[in-house]
């Protein structure tokens, strides 16, 4: 074992202290007053940790040292696996998700819209024949290469679907007809809607589909009113999801979760990736305030009584940013890659260009024109452009297992367009959520174990943190 490759982080916040083993994603509570301040919020390996502790002679640290030695003997501390997967740019790999965006039509102009720049550049549209000519070669590519994973098509991610619903229905019917020709499963996903206008036909479709996702701009009062008004048109048994953007100046996050809770089954808050010239840019100063708001939100959660906290966990949606980190920490899930965009997922826009995701077609270095409907050729060219984050600072980062590496869209939007380095603002934002969530979970396990069990059960999670959180007590098991 290479001692230098083990990776620890002593995370200190207010009067609490955690030791995180980045490899196993196991963490323990430490006694903050006995830990030298120089060790706080530092990335440490076993060698450095042992050496620093050796220099100190308080009894808590001596015990800690003995226990680290004990666990070392058992080879407990494994080297940090370089979790960010190498990108096989040149190899053909399976395609599991395709976004086809026939148009950029919308009846709103949300400040955070990912199609904003594209809309300025072109107003071209794809018709049914164009879409068929891109879908079929993709299915045949999978068939020829014997790829067996299912594939999902999302149609109309950059438009308001209700404006183009007839086209969507035609595509659905066409996919339903050809499904049987392929051994792998083919799914069609409905994108979110803004609910500004809903026809009877759309309502009937959703009532039958039983799933609805609405995206809302909280600052657009007209939209808020329309959403509240139109949501009533859908049957009670339709699962209703609401997506709300987290921007850099968001306030009172907890209240936002509950503002629409009587109308929707699940609420998901997700950060929006916007440029410096946006209404709420991700500047360093905004980020500082945003982190304070996140801390305030998690503090608020801890102040809730059991019933309200359980209700909160029942209401947060599956795509909620905080919920995903919460799950990942409790289940010790290792994210080997942040996103399948550019690897197994691609987006095709109305100008017939292919890019890793629907948000990226305007960045020339990450999009390729599809000539003569030759998808395979365009795909090969695009795959060569996708960066490999394995060799960046992500490979030694203490949250790499939780985060999985950078999002290309964050990098393009926030940085100097140097695709090969993660963006510091995104990193800081993610680190803050991971750290705060670690403390929240630690608090729940220590002080409200029964409630924590109920939350795990409600969210159908597997608890992989069911060991003694006190490091010395944990070590006792192995003594």
């Amino acid at each position: 074992m290479h001692l230098n490759d083990s990776c620890f982080r002593i995370i200190h916040k207010n009067d609490r202290c955690l030791l995180l083993d980045c490899s196993t994603q196991i963490f323990w509570n430490l006694e903050p007053n006995s830990i030298p301040k120089e060790l706080f919020d530092q990335q440490l390996n076993l060698h450095v940790l042992g050496k620093k502790i050796l220099k100190n002679d308080n009894s808590y640290l001596q015990k800690l040292k003995e226990n680290i030695k004990l666990l070392r003997k058992l080879n407990f501390f494994v080297p940090l696996k370089r979790g960010i997967q190498k990108n096989n740019s040149y190899r053909s790999s399976d395609i599991t998700q395709i976004y086809v965006n026939p148009s950029l039509d919308c009846n709103l102009n949300c400040w955070f819209c990912y199609a904003k720049d594209s809309r300025k550049k072109n107003n071209s549209k794809l018709d049914f024949e164009d879409i068929s000519k891109v879908i079929l070669p993709i299915l045949d590519y999978k068939k020829e290469n014997n790829f067996s994973s299912s594939i999902g098509f999302s149609i109309g991610f950059t438009e308001e679907l209700t404006l183009n619903f007839q086209l969507f229905k035609r595509i659905k019917s066409s996919i339903d007809k050809i499904k049987k020709q392929y051994e792998f499963s083919i799914f069609l996903f409905l994108p979110s809607t803004n609910l500004m206008q809903v026809t009877e036909e759309y309502v009937d479709f959703i009532n039958d589909y039983k799933h609805l996702t609405v995206s809302i701009d909280l600052e657009n009062k007209n939209q808020v009113n329309k959403v509240v008004q139109n949501i009533e048109k859908f049957n009670l048994d339709v699962e209703k999801n609401l997506i709300i953007p987290i921007h850099s100046k968001i306030k009172d996050i907890y209240d936002i979760y509950f503002r629409f809770s009587s109308y929707f089954d699940y609420i998901s808050l997700r950060p929006v990736r916007v440029k410096d010239d946006s209404k709420y840019p991700w500047t360093l100063e905004n980020l500082r305030n945003n982190k304070l708001e996140i801390s305030k939100f998690l503090k608020k959660l801890l102040s809730l009584d059991d019933e309200d906290l359980l209700l909160f966990f029942e209401k947060i949606g599956p795509t909620d940013y905080f919920a995903r980190y919460f799950h990942r920490i409790v289940e010790r899930q290792r994210m080997n890659e942040r996103c399948i965009a550019g690897k197994n997922a691609f987006a095709i826009n109305s100008a017939m260009e292919i890019s890793p995701c629907s948000s990226l077609p305007d960045y020339d270095d990450l999009s390729v024109k599809i000539s003569d409907f030759n998808i395979q050729d365009a795909l090969e060219k695009l795959r060569k452009k996708i960066p490999n984050y394995k060799e960046t600072e992500c490979s030694t980062c203490y949250i790499q297992s939780y985060c999985g590496g950078p999002c290309m869209d964050w990098v393009v939007k926030l940085d100097d367009q140097n695709l090969f380095h993660p963006n510091k603002i995104e990193c800081d934002f993610n680190k803050h959520i991971v750290e705060e969530t670690l403390f929240l979970i630690s608090d729940l396990i220590e002080n409200r174990k029964e409630l924590f069990g109920l939350i795990i059960k409600k969210r159908r999670m597997r608890n992989r943190l069911n060991y003694a959180l006190d490091f010395n007590q944990f070590s006792k098991f192995f003594s």
Binding site: L74, R324, R328, Q333, M335, N466, A468, F478
Partner: protein, 61 residues
């Protein structure tokens, strides 16, 4: 150590035939029997570190 202790999803105990047994409490299955307690502990440490079923690739955006 007492004769039956738990760490994570795993329990370790000494059976009637003097084997140190590791049991997965979730599945209820016996994962191994060891003559020496150290070997059983070593195995539990390995289970806790294991990547099995821990990989996730769902994107966060």
């Amino acid at each position: 150590m007492s004769e039956r202790e738990q760490c994570g999803d795993y329990e370790i105990y000494l059976d009637n035939e003097d084997w140190w047994v590791i049991k997965n409490l979730i599945s209820g299955t016996i994962l191994g029997k060891f003559l020496k307690k150290e070997d059983a502990l070593d195995k539990i440490a390995a289970f806790l570190q294991s990547d099995d079923e821990r990989t996730e690739s769902e994107s966060v955006c």
